[in-house]
Symmetry: C2
Subunit: 218 residues, 2 copies
């Protein structure tokens, strides 16, 4: 069965996955863009955005790993866009332009139904209104023998962790302080849910941790 994995999810040193006050101009909230400093200079990111060059090394290895062997993606509605409430129309098609970097079925959790949105390059956004388990079932059916990557945001990852549905989580800790925003860990008792840290890797501009689920506790 395909594993549900979180890859390259970045938090600030003070624990936030995004800053406060997301808008169309600040998709990651105030100060949130700086969290991905480890990513934007890598060869992986340059290639993905059609540019030459970029760094190799631990940061780049970690970035590359995040999109390898992924058969389907899941994201929360606020990661898909800044629109809240019922969709006024189909004009918002994500932050990523005509050809998003996913190239597979991508399931967007929302309370508001919407027809699937086919994009260039193999990405189709499917809008799932019947909850996180339903989205996972549909992603499993789509992923074949590859992994399903859970993209974010923090609230979506937290819901899947609370339901013990995440198999493995790779996080990047940026040295930046945000001071406010969307916390990943606050109020979430990961040891009680069966999770522990298995690996620490120091990169050039962030530190990486692998958190995995062991035996379920009663």
């Amino acid at each position: 069965m395909p594993r549900l994995v979180v890859h390259s999810y970045t938090i600030s040193l003070d624990g936030y996955g995004a800053g406060p006050n997301q808008t169309r101009e600040t998709p990651l909230g105030e100060g949130g863009e700086g969290l991905h400093e480890w990513l934007v200079g890598t060869r992986f990111f340059m290639q993905m955005t059609g540019k030459p060059g970029g760094t190799t090394g631990t940061d780049n290895d970690f970035a590359e790993q995040g999109m390898a062997n992924v058969g389907a993606y899941i994201m929360g509605r606020n990661m898909f866009g800044p629109v809240r409430g019922p969709w006024p129309d189909d004009s918002w098609r994500g932050w990523w332009g005509k050809n998003p970097p996913y190239h597979t079925p991508t399931f967007v959790l929302t309370h508001h139904a919407r027809a699937p949105q086919e994009m260039d390059g193999g990405t189709t956004f499917h809008f799932v209104t019947d909850g996180i388990e339903a989205a996972l079932d549909r992603a499993r059916a789509a992923a074949g023998d590859k992994d399903i990557r859970l993209l974010g945001g923090a609230s979506t990852i937290r819901q899947y962790l609370e339901a013990r549905l995440v198999d493995e989580m790779h996080i990047a800790v940026s040295p930046r302080l945000l001071g406010a925003g969307e916390p990943l860990f606050t109020g979430l008792d990961l040891p009680k849910l069966g999770y522990s840290t298995t690996t620490t890797i120091g990169g050039e501009k962030a530190t990486y941790y692998v958190i995995a689920r062991g035996a379920k506790r009663a």
Copy 2:
């Protein structure tokens, strides 16, 4: 003027400086002991506890640095001991035996007055009931031209950070997850208070960060 510094303060990957439910048997709360795995094997810690051997390297360097050039210490009452409320008597003299590792005047914040407690080896515990600024004034007078080290716990450090009185903070992030306990950062807007991360150092068993105060914001 002596600087107020936090050194070697350790938090879990999920942000807790100690586990929940401190008792006489678990000074760092449930699961809290494991946070200091980076420290206990170092040559510095072995020497401090009168044992031979121990590791050298980044973890040891960081540990050694924490007690260098310190002229006075400040700690919160819960770090001094598990006793709550008025002191029933003078029998509790800290966790550290007859000869605590401080060897200088050490100021304990409490709401309950108590006579100074002179220990072997130069440590004297002074109990300060008139607040964090009063404790800092007294520590400044005692420290000469050395630094004042603010030991913890999390609540005490947070109070001094909120008052912008901490000059520099060295924290160690353990890869462990605690799930619950005393958070260091939650609800504390460090960028707004003028703090930012200046240095990241990957050690053998923890990752170290230096957080310093820049220009005060209005």
